[in-house]
């Protein structure tokens, strides 16, 4: 069998927030392969979100190496490509949505990828349909309900057709019906690779193959 392709490789990664004293990570090693669907658990403040931000280049490591798509990523410019191919959905949908209407917010990513109008509109339609948001095009983003905002946030990243999704607490504070909807969306696309941060063990069981735990700056499969 062909060896699995490594997409994210973190080598001896250490990170300290400028204001913090202690390490969030100390010499952390982690590999993520294409096609993997993993869950990430860990106590509050153990650095799960920080890990996502390091992968996306929103934070830069204090020490260590980040290799994504077989290339070392060191400076801001290295991450431009990463951001086009890996999609991060933020924990708080109010951080994610900034355009007036749902259609414009979803089109923002594809337009940044220089898709033309026809392509963008096609993607927009497909995304809304896949996520069960048909008819939401002209809704005002800041007037949506919380559950709707979560789905639209996912849609904005989905529309960029990323190779890997990073979902930060995608089902927190959602009702069972909406959670079930997200489970179905994730499971109906078997080619998807993703990492999900969540405290909902039941949700992770349904959507992921392995679960990793972060604690004391280390990451271990459980």
């Amino acid at each position: 069998m062909k060896e699995k392709e490594t997409i994210i490789k973190l080598v001896d990664l250490s990170f300290t927030y400028p204001s913090g004293r202690a390490y969030v990570f100390n010499k952390l090693n982690f590999n993520f392969f294409k096609g993997e669907r993993i869950g990430l658990v860990g106590p509050n403040g153990s650095g799960k979100t920080t890990l996502f931000h390091l992968i996306m280049g929103l934070l830069l490591p204090t020490e260590g190496e980040i290799e994504i798509f077989r290339k070392e990523r060191k400076i801001e410019n290295d991450f431009v490509e990463v951001r086009e191919r890996i999609g991060l959905v933020f924990q708080d949908p109010d951080d994610q949505l900034f355009s007036p209407t749902v259609a414009e917010d979803i089109a923002f990513g594809p337009l940044n990828l220089r898709k033309n109008r026809q392509e963008t509109e096609k993607i927009l339609k497909e995304t809304l349909e896949t996520l069960g948001l048909a008819g939401f095009e002209d809704r005002i983003t800041y007037n949506l309900s919380y559950g709707e905002k979560r789905l639209v946030s996912l849609a904005t990243v989905w529309a960029m057709q990323p190779e890997i999704l990073l979902l930060d607490e995608p089902v927190i504070w959602l009702d069972e019906k909406t959670i079930e909807k997200i489970v179905q969306i994730l499971n109906s696309n078997p080619h998807l690779s993703y990492i999900i941060i969540s405290h909902d063990k039941n949700f992770l069981k349904k959507t992921t193959d392995y679960i990793y735990e972060m604690d004391n700056g280390k990451i271990n499969k459980i």
Partner: protein, 250 residues
């Protein structure tokens, strides 16, 4: 503040609500410049009538229009307190050691008519479009990207700051805070303002990060495009015609 966010006038179904925002921006620009520089009374009377006319066509609530006008006119009132007494010219009345000059009254009057005409037309034309349509229209009129982003984000973050304010205000309310004239109240309000700024700054940083993650490289691409209708053309020409007619009045 709340007015700005709710865009109360932007929903409606008058001719002006349906008019292409590009036409509106061009008309208000032309109107404002002409009204600002003209000194002919008859033209200004025409301008005022035009302004009242478009407000009527826009079918806006009179009470709300007047309440907006009051804000502007409270500044103009200050001018009436100053100008007639300080402007040099022929004295028409003497109040103790102070003389009221004819020119002073004339200028105060001109400023009043001009500002009210421009504000009324502005309300009728601009506030009948949503801010986002106006932003798009400006982009189609080739305003530089940087200015458009500045305008858009200013608006967007006024909303953010306001919603942070509402959240914090609720937080202090549910713990039984009643504003009084004492140090506790001042301290609470200063914490509220400080926290509001810090939080909105953080949020704006997070929104920016989210934009970066979606491939934002400093340029906005528009999704919707306006379709220039025949009625836009006709209404635009009629309004510009009125404005030119106003200048040409004998």
């Amino acid at each position: 503040m709340v007015d700005l966010i709710k865009e109360r006038f932007s929903k409606g179904d008058s001719f002006l609500h349906k008019l292409d925002p590009r036409v509106k921006i061009i008309v208000i620009l032309l109107f404002s410049v002409i009204v600002a520089i003209t000194d002919k009374y008859i033209s200004l009377l025409g301008a005022l009538l035009f302004a009242i006319g478009v407000v009527i066509i826009a079918k806006l609530k009179t009470r709300e229009v007047i309440s907006r006008l009051l804000v502007v006119n409270s500044f103009i009132f200050l001018l009436w307190l100053m100008l007639p007494f300080t402007f040099p010219g022929e004295k028409v009345y003497t109040l103790g050691s102070l003389g009221i000059s004819r020119e002073g009254i004339k200028y105060a009057f001109l400023i009043t008519v001009k500002s009210n005409s421009i504000i009324l037309t502005g309300i009728a034309l601009l506030s009948t479009s949503s801010i986002f349509n106006l932003v798009h229209a400006l982009r189609h009129l080739y305003l530089p990207d940087k200015l458009i982003q500045l305008f858009f984000f200013t608006y967007r973050y006024i909303h953010t700051i306001y919603s942070e304010y509402v959240k914090l205000n609720n937080a202090i309310k549910i713990r039984g805070f009643k504003p009084q004239t004492n140090l506790h109240t001042y301290k609470t309000y200063s914490y509220l303002v400080g926290m509001m700024l810090v939080r909105s700054y953080d949020r704006s940083k997070r929104v920016y990060n989210a934009m970066l993650c979606r491939g934002f490289k400093g340029k906005f691409w528009t999704l919707n495009h306006f379709i220039f209708k025949k009625s836009d053309f006709v209404l635009g020409i009629v309004m510009i015609g009125c404005i030119i007619g106003m200048v040409l009045l004998p």
